[in-house]
Symmetry: C2
Subunit: 188 residues, 2 copies
Amino acid sequence: MELLNKRILQDGRCLEGGILKVNSFINEQMDPEMMSHIGQEFGKLYANCGVTKIMTIEASGIAPAIMTGLYMHLPVVFVKKKKPKTMGETLNTTVHSFTKDRNYNVCVSKEFLTSKDKVLIIDDFLAYGNAAKGMLDLARQAQAKIVGLGFVIEKTFQGGGEMLRKAGYRVESLAEVTSLDDGKITLK
Amino acid sequence: MELLNKRILQDGRCLEGGILKVNSFINEQMDPEMMSHIGQEFGKLYANCGVTKIMTIEASGIAPAIMTGLYMHLPVVFVKKKKPKTMGETLNTTVHSFTKDRNYNVCVSKEFLTSKDKVLIIDDFLAYGNAAKGMLDLARQAQAKIVGLGFVIEKTFQGGGEMLRKAGYRVESLAEVTSLDDGKITLK
């Protein structure tokens, strides 16, 4: 996605440890118009695939997921990191967060992820694929079908995309970062 | 907002302890088209007020905030509950969550909330006003100006709205729940 690639090269910064910082438009401050273009792009890529539900994980997945849901006219279910006391029965799994360096117990409402659902998973980053694995596990527990996964930015050198594609999943990433070596962002 | 009032009466449920459960379209599963209407409504209410930035708090504030940002053509800065190791200098405060029954240390990037900003705070619920107070404290630390606050649903009987209005803030709530007594949702 040309617009996104340009923006990453213009505003992105490399941090130590293979981290790409895109805080000015994705994960500390968000650019709603960019997110809207991102939603349209996922909507085009997964048009006519029978998707019935978008799934994402809080917090930075919500913006691209809600925009995708808007263009696909579909509800968005989101995986939570803390179970609020208002929440009924849940499906649960564990996810390791690379940027926060800890494990999370995450959960999703049983009411909104069921065996009738054909799910498109949307998230901001694909790195090692930990959050994606967690969401796939929740879908497996619900016996929901996975249509595919969509990521705003994939860091191809961290292997999550390879792992998911080898497992047979359709993975669409709008920007692919192939290297952050020597403080330089290289895109595919 | 008529569409929202109808949806609350149709899909909302009362839980014990003054909790309104609107999990099917706001905080476990989201309805992107409803969120889009909500964003347009806030955009109209705060048109021509000089707003330069939308501020919200993760996670359920993100969807209404990003839609408001889309219609107002403004960036959205979001307050985080955990500081990721990728984040630079932050402003920090503490927020008590009523539905999760705990205190959070929350933070926002210093880079994206500054004395130049004229801020519109957007969140899903206004109950006791704890999250709003936290965001107002962060804006005060940044010496940003507050133009106003917008909430999808205000529970007027929990006093947050009264507290904020008495303090001189403009508060716009798209739906006002005046009572949840006897398991019945009463709207203004």
